[in-house]
């Protein structure tokens, strides 16, 4: 091996380079083949050892590690407090969201609890069939009247048996645009309707509840549930224009 190659290999004899000891010894032996380089290498190793000693000759502050550990402990406590606050905020946000959703669920108009076979086909909504169905349930023919105006068959979407005070009860559903009217035709004898007089009006989460006066018919009480903002008059037959 020439001196130039040996010089290049000499770089790798440091223990830190992790060469196997056998290979390291081999390189050291090859360095001896070049006497000039061997001398230089030996001097360089001595110089490097002296510099390395000086490099590590740094007084270490005795309290340094303790200061670092104290600082790290402080950081961990701060981090734990921040994490607790973050978790608390997250829980509060979730609770607030749950309360908000709950309030929205309660305050929105409840879906109609109809026990119907489905929305009637158009032919089932013709007045004659509706009247026949009403008669079948012992109810007077014709849709109820509001004042002197009859509810409009055109607005009728569904009729069937709904649930009123957990009892199956004939029910009609009318709609115009977004407004909806749910009518329960409650047989007076089957329910204790004390407290529900002919003028009762209540606003509930489901909408406005009204008792539709039924003069001359004491057997049936008509309970109307209107979506917020809707009025009974909206669902009546149009007022005929006076003849010219």
């Amino acid at each position: 091996m020439d001196c130039r190659s040996a010089r290049l290999l000499a770089e790798f004899v440091r223990p830190a380079e992790g060469l196997p000891e056998a290979e390291r010894q081999k390189i050291l032996e090859q360095l001896q083949d070049c006497p000039e380089l061997a001398l230089e290498f030996s001097a360089q190793q001595r110089a490097d050892a002296a510099i390395a000693r000086a490099m590590r000759d740094v007084p270490i502050p005795a309290d340094g590690p303790a200061k670092v550990l104290a600082k790290l402990a402080l950081m961990r406590r701060k981090h734990a407090r921040r994490r607790t606050a973050l978790i608390g905020s997250a829980i509060a946000a979730v609770l607030l969201l749950a309360v908000g959703i709950g309030y929205w669920q309660v305050s929105r108009p409840a879906p109609l609890d109809l026990d119907l076979a489905g929305v009637q086909a158009a032919e089932a909504l013709v007045p004659a069939r509706v009247d026949a169905w009403l008669a079948k349930h012992g109810l007077p023919a014709g849709l109820p009247t509001v004042g002197n105006r009859r509810l409009d068959y055109e607005a009728l979407r569904v009729y069937g048996i709904g649930t009123f005070r957990e009892q199956p009860t004939p029910m009609l559903l009318l709609s115009r645009g977004h407004a909806q009217l749910q009518l329960y035709l409650v047989p007076a004898g089957r329910f204790d309707l004390t407290g529900l007089d002919q003028t009762s009006v209540a606003v509930t989460s489901r909408g406005t509840v009204e008792i539709v006066p039924t003069p001359g018919n004491r057997r049936v009480v008509v309970v109307a549930i209107l979506t917020p903002g809707a009025t009974l008059e909206q669902f009546c037959e149009p007022i005929p224009l006076p003849e010219a």
Partner: protein, 180 residues
């Protein structure tokens, strides 16, 4: 056996690595107070980023990298010390006086302070004798050849600067006003 908690891990890391990191910080910065701050900052950052350390067997190298980055961050803010330029130093070693038996720690620090950081860091890591060329290259994110070349030039500079001859006749790096 349970996983050791963060406190136990860092007690062990501080016990094991504080001295080496402090020495490295001191040799990089040249100031005891800066070295103390840098070492503390290193452990604080390590504690924050510990979850990102994938290979715990490389923790020592990782801590040294954090310290160097912290040092560079501060050094950029206060770039006011004079450095010698090694740009014109050749890769082929010149004949230098290698008759160095002992080196004064302060004299070494002065010589290191004159080197640009890109030369100072590898030469410090080299003389700590625990880092291979490959590890130094990885830490500095440089090719191995670049690190070896820089080391060769930095060592040559130190030999000249620290040789007994330099006491009476200043080395070329200073004599030719190579300070940039």
């Amino acid at each position: 056996m349970g996983v050791p908690d963060r406190r136990a891990i860092f007690e062990s890391l501080v016990t094991e690595h504080y001295a080496a990191l402090y020495r490295y910080a001191y040799r990089l910065s040249g100031s005891a107070s800066d070295a103390e701050d840098l070492t503390q900052e290193t452990f604080c950052k390590a504690q924050m980023l510990y979850d990102q350390l994938r290979d715990t067997s490389r923790v020592r190298s990782w801590l040294f990298s954090i310290l160097r980055n912290a040092y560079l961050h501060h050094a950029r803010a206060e770039r006011n010390h004079r450095e010698v330029s090694l740009d014109h130093a050749g890769d082929v070693p010149e004949a230098v006086d290698l008759n160095i038996q002992t080196v004064d720690s302060e004299q070494l620090q002065q010589a290191l302070a004159e080197l640009p950081e890109t030369f100072r860091t590898p030469v410090i890591l080299y003389y700590f004798e625990d880092f291979s060329y490959r590890e130094i290259a990885d830490q500095m994110e440089l090719p191995l050849g670049t690190v070896m070349s820089r080391l060769s030039r930095a060592k040559e500079y130190l030999y000249k600067r620290l040789s007994p001859a330099a006491e009476s006749a200043p080395c070329r790096g200073r004599a030719n006003n190579g300070l940039s």
